[in-house]
């Protein structure tokens, strides 16, 4: 008897590790290993000898932090970061405000066709970014756009969304169109989890629907708002598919418009995976600092009540 118990206990001791193993293995294989490899790559560079045409005329040499120094002093990288900040300043507030309004509207008891509205708002999120951009690209190009024709019919001035300034709105619009649905669903789900008796109590106290929304609902979904902001900021910094797809349609978008596009150009057009790896590490680090900073600032306020 005692032997069975001890065996069972020993088997029991291994169980948690067995349960954790798949997650740990997956983490190591698909996250930690590639990151380590990227860091490793970023420490080397290719050196060409002579004309670089013969066999073996390229070799990898240790570069130390040289690639990082180049990335950090690269003017195009800095300019790209600024452009993305401008784009994010347009995109994130617009998208989240719209998402919050939609979520509050969906949560109203009086609203009709809730299921349909929810799907209609969410559906654009299911359209891949590249397809969405092609779709909007047709609508932006003056000669294929029904809107341009409509403006022309009404003798209104032409709006060129593919001009150097317009392009920010053009890109932000695509992201808002695709992203509002997702954020609405997250916020709406948070709203649904608020106990209904709170509203009842508020109404008995004489709150209008407006006051319920602003004083009760919004503060209670603040944690969800923080989360969606964080996701949106991260997605903004990673913007790649939309400007890449839109670039061939216009003179206003360079092939290195966003930092990630620069990384892509470095890795695949220039064939320099080493500096691309260094730039990726820098972008990841910036993103980590930004998002953890954002969390730290907002957490104290948003989650304060839960402590």
């Amino acid at each position: 008897m005692p032997s069975t118990t001890s065996r069972r206990r020993r088997a029991g001791a291994a169980t948690p590790y067995l349960f954790v193993a798949p997650a740990v293995v997956l983490f190591l294989l698909v996250l930690a290993l590639p990151i380590a490899y990227t860091v490793y790559l970023s420490l080397f560079r290719t050196e060409v000898s002579g004309l670089g045409l013969g066999r073996g005329s390229r070799r990898e040499v240790f570069a130390g932090l040289g690639n990082y120094a180049r990335t950090l002093t690269d003017s195009e990288m800095g300019a790209g970061a600024l452009r993305v900040l401008g784009y994010g300043a347009l995109l994130v507030p617009t998208m989240l405000l719209l998402a919050l309004v939609f979520a509050l509207l969906l949560d109203e008891d009086r609203v009709r066709a809730r299921g349909f509205s929810r799907i209609a708002i969410f559906l654009p999120y299911a359209v891949p970014g590249v397809i969405a951009t092609l779709l909007w690209g047709f609508l932006y190009l003056p000669s294929t756009s029904p809107f341009a024709q409509l403006l022309d019919e009404l003798s209104l001035p032409e709006v060129d969304l593919l001009s150097p300034t317009g392009i920010y709105f053009a890109l932000a619009n695509i992201a808002v169109w695709g992203g509002v649905g997702y954020n609405t669903i997250v916020l709406h789900t948070a709203l649904r989890s608020i106990p209904r008796d709170l509203y009842e109590a508020a109404r008995i106290d004489g709150c209008s629907a407006w006051q319920v929304a602003l004083r009760i609902k919004v503060p209670l979904v603040a944690p969800a708002l923080v989360l969606t902001t964080l996701f949106s900021v991260v997605a903004t910094l990673q913007v790649f598919a939309e400007p890449t797809t839109l670039a061939p349609l216009t003179n206003s978008l360079s092939r290195t418009w966003s930092p990630l596009m620069k990384v892509y150009q470095d890795a695949f057009a220039r064939g320099d995976v080493h500096s691309a790896a260094a730039a990726s590490v820098v972008i990841a680090a910036v993103m980590f600092v930004l998002s953890s900073g954002l969390l730290r600032i907002t957490r104290s306020r948003a989650f304060g009540g839960e402590r």
Binding site: T46, E47, V48, L51, G52, T256, A269, G271
Partner: protein, 429 residues
């Protein structure tokens, strides 16, 4: 149980090692039937491949349709780094030095030396890069020509321009007679197009001097071309929206663009992008800088190359040579794919007696094309054409958007190209 897992892990590890072993045993061709993978983009080239497969059942070629141009270069570079790639690929001339420099292409001189005589000297020089190796078999060339809407030229009383001065005058006349139409567009999206125009003007962007590269993208000839188009764009005589956009397709279809400075393969593009204009286009030689000594440049043109990572190089080289020199194959390339073959014999072959289907009225299309092709300027491509091309798109796009002179953009392309070469360790003079 645990032992079992360990055993499986060892077995899997061995499997991987075996796989890796297979991958690295390059060069030696396996005996018996084999399959060759081929990445290409030429329209309908699969039909030509089918002919090979019908007569070579033990050397089956499996086609995989790819995106054109720069994208395929990117893909080949990446797949070579990853150690996975095709046995053969369609590669444009300007990408050869980049791919050779990255050790992506196999030297097929042992098999290909015999067919050197089948190609014009200038074309062959582009696949040897001036050395002893042969890195690809030439497939087609892209001599540049001028395409115009014959019906609209007649309607507006325009004559076909034979010099660039006349082209500019024609562009202005058209604008005054039909303010909503253009004779052409300057595209910041197509560096290959601009490179062809620079070749015509006598530009030579790269050259080799001993073991040193010289880069002269910003040379006098190219400046002349940039200044010319800069002027036309500034006065609004030509359009400035990029080519190959939905808007451009529509403009070709509805006659907003009544001309296109393009290359010999244009009929295929027009048929695909402006199908509604069948039979209304005509082709003429490119307008000239010096009418007394006509020249043209090349836009595009491609080769069939064997990959250095292939384990079936001999069989692959055999197919590449067949595809581009066998009379039946080359004839099929012309009729099915609509390319203009690089092989000398093919240019006088029966396949080129008929004009392209999209130009039924121009009986002498290919004889004219052959005359034009013989005036093509030679050109040396550098080892980082991709970088120069991206710099062109960025710098010219920005200059067009800002409405500024295009000539300074040229020096920006030159600077970006040299900077990149120096950073990689090339000797640049």
């Amino acid at each position: 149980m645990r032992l079992d897992i360990a055993r499986k892990a060892v077995a899997a590890g061995l499997g991987l090692a075996l796989l890796a072993g297979c991958g690295s045993s390059g060069g030696q061709d396996p005996e018996g039937p084999t399959e060759l993978s081929f990445w290409a983009w030429a329209p309908n080239i699969e039909k030509v491949v089918d002919r090979w497969n019908a007569s070579h059942p033990d050397r089956k070629v499996v086609m995989s349709k790819q995106a054109q141009g720069d994208d395929l270069v990117t893909k080949l570079l990446t797949s070579a780094k990853a150690g996975s790639g095709p046995d053969l690929a369609q590669v444009e001339f300007q990408a050869l030095p980049t791919l050779v420099s990255n050790d992506v292409l196999a030297d097929v001189s042992a098999d290909a030396a015999a067919v050197e005589g089948e190609f014009p000297e200038g074309v062959w020089q582009q696949v040897t890069l001036g050395g002893d190796g042969v890195y690809a078999i030439p497939q087609d060339s892209g001599p540049m020509m001028f395409y115009y809407r014959a019906d609209l030229f007649q309607q507006y009383g325009l004559t076909v321009p034979t010099t660039w001065d006349e082209y500019a005058r024609t562009a202005r006349t058209l604008r005054s007679r039909a303010p909503d139409r253009f004779l052409g567009t300057f595209s910041s999206n197509d560096p290959g197009w601009f490179a062809g125009l620079a070749q015509q003007a006598g530009g030579s962007w790269w050259s080799i001097d001993g073991d040193t590269w010289r880069v002269s993208i910003d040379d006098a000839a190219t400046r002349k071309v940039a200044a010319y188009w800069s002027g036309l764009v500034a006065e609004g005589a030509v359009d400035k929206t990029p080519m190959y956009t939905p808007e451009w397709n529509k403009a070709l279809n509805d006659g907003t663009q009544i001309g296109w400075v393009s290359a010999v393969w244009a009929p295929g593009v027009l048929a695909g992008n402006a199908g509604g204009t069948l039979g209304r286009w005509a082709m003429a030689p490119l307008p000239q800088w010096d009418a007394a000594s006509p020249r043209t440049g090349n836009w595009g043109g491609s080769t069939t190359a064997v990959m250095s990572a292939s384990t079936k190089r001999k069989a692959a080289a055999e197919f590449a040579i067949w595809l581009n020199t066998d009379p039946e194959a080359v004839a099929a390339l012309v009729t099915d794919s609509g390319v203009y073959p690089a092989a000398t014999k093919a240019q006088t072959g029966s396949a080129l007696e008929q004009p392209p289907a999209f130009f039924p009225a121009q009986e002498d299309f290919y004889p004219t094309a052959q005359k034009i092709a013989s005036t093509a300027a030679s050109f040396t491509w550098g080892p980082n054409v991709n970088v120069a091309y991206t710099a062109y798109k960025n710098a010219f796009g920005a200059a067009i958007t800002a409405g500024t002179d295009l000539v300074p953009a040229l020096s920006e392309v030159q600077r970006a190209t040299i900077d990149d070469m120096r950073a990689s360790g090339f000797k640049v003079g």
